[in-house]
Amino acid sequence: MSVQLKCEKAVLGYDNNVVSEQIDFSVSRGDYLCVLGENGAGKSTLMKTLLGLTPLMGGSITFCGDMAQNEIGYLPQQTQVQRDFPASVREIVQSGCLNRCGLRPFYNREEKEMARSAMEKLGITDLAKSCYRELSGGQQQRVLLARALCATRKMLLLDEPVTGLDPKAAREMYELTAKLNREEQVTILMISHDINAITYATHILQIGKTQQFFGTKDEYLKSRIGQAFLCNFGEEGSSDVGTL
């Protein structure tokens, strides 16, 4: 297993306000890491820091082997895309290929083919000409996932990808990412509150003011902190605990 990403004693935050510190974990090719933590714990901040959108306040983040920072596909928590933005599905998916273009002004055949195959994988081929803003939440997430796939085949960061989706769309979203992880060896880092997300994970990272847990899923489920997490869901009456 080749290590792709190493995070050592990282301090996360914005302009001198520390949100979370002592973050220590590493991710290898083909891993499926689920990031847990309360609201405001700094999960999104962690992703933005990994992507280089927010500066790291301390410690280090290293990309190893053939992995580079700008080779991460990203599905933001809330796309600040305005509701009135006119864009077709194909235009959006293709824009994921842009980092391959360099200064070339137009997409070449290979890039168009990549976009086509990404849409096919996510089952949105027949939506190619549709208007993004008129799609359902689940379809929109698939479009953004297809775009992220165009940007990379190595690592995807998904920030609460099922928020606002109905249970069926949410399950489909989880299955899609699991399939990408299994069949294409795409490394997945996913933030989720949802117990279903853990079903597919290989590793768990839980953060708060400091890091609370990092290890494999099995270790997590046996640990005290993992038990506490499961208990919460038990109290809320989730029937999915049994599937773990």
Binding site: L53, T79, P86, E91, L98, S130
Partner: protein, 280 residues
């Protein structure tokens, strides 16, 4: 009807009318290309602020008495564009307040300077024509026409070359940044081109009406079309059409050019809103 047509063809024998037409159509085309991006990025306010800065710069140019006032207006507006964009990005200083401050300030200082130093007998008329572009489009010299053609060519070329990048940065800036697109550089480029267009458009519609020229065609196209490309093409067509119509009508009925064009844009906007309503 044929009488109107005769009048029109009579006017078009004059070179200055033909110049006005060429320049008008080019400006309309350029402003509509970027209009979509500016509206979507919520940058319309920058356009408005810059047009006031350009007015202030023009006043300074008039007072200093340079022969080619573009030499002052162009750099001042471009630099302001860069500064405004930076303040707009900085969420700590309220971006819109900074823009409002600069734009109103430039307007006031500009008017003050003209009043204090202008040797012209008709100050009110001068100010009015700078603000509303009443006649300047009909007094273009050949060199001004060439300057306009040159700048338009640059704007159109940059837009075509960077079309995909402009789309990506407009649609989702964070994603572009994360995948290694230099979004800030493209934002800067968009701001500089906006400044160029505004300086150009001052001749056509005057500084107060520029925003209308930039925004209305984009908003109209967005009512009806659903993909980025079709919106851009449609807004270019609308803008050029309205500019042509506005210039012709203003010649025939001797109305002010700028307001006539903007009026045409507004009518088209309502028509397209209606079409969009019916379609959905």
């Amino acid at each position: 009807m044929s009488e109107l047509f005769n009048t029109l063809s009579y006017y078009f024998t004059y070179p200055f009318v033909r110049y006005a037409m060429i320049v008008g159509l080019l400006i309309a085309l350029c402003s509509s290309l970027l209009g979509v991006t500016l509206v979507l990025k919520r940058f319309s306010f920058i356009g408005d602020g810059l047009s006031h800065v350009a007015f202030g710069a023009m006043a300074v140019a008039a007072v200093v008495g340079v022969t080619n006032n573009m030499l002052i207006i162009l750099p001042v507006t471009v630099i302001s564009a860069i500064l405004l964009l930076r303040s707009g990005q900085n969420t700590k200083i309220k971006g819109d307040a900074a823009v409002a401050m600069i734009s109103v300030g430039a307007l006031a200082i500009g008017y003050l300077l003209i009043n204090l130093f202008s040797k012209s007998a008709n100050i009110a008329g001068d100010v009015c024509s700078t603000l509303f572009g009443s006649t300047s489009i009909l007094t273009l010299t050949v060199s001004e026409v060439w300057l306009c053609i040159g700048i338009s060519a640059v704007v159109i070329a940059v837009f075509l070359l960077f079309y995909n990048k402009i789309f990506a940065v407009t649609f989702d800036e964070n994603f572009s940044k994360a995948t290694g697109i230099r979004a800030n550089a493209y934002n800067l480029m968009i701001a500089v081109i906006t400044a160029l267009i505004i300086v150009l458009a001052m001749n056509l519609v005057g500084s107060l009406l520029i925003s209308a020229l930039i925004i209305f065609p984009a908003l109209s196209a967005m009512r009806v079309f659903k993909s980025f490309r079709s919106v851009i093409i449609c807004s270019a067509v609308i803008s050029v059409f309205c500019a042509a119509l506005g210039i012709i009508l203003s010649i025939l009925f001797s109305t002010p050019v700028g307001s006539t064009i903007v009026a045409a844009d507004i009518v088209v906007f309502f028509v397209f809103s209606l079409i969009g309503r019916i379609k959905s």
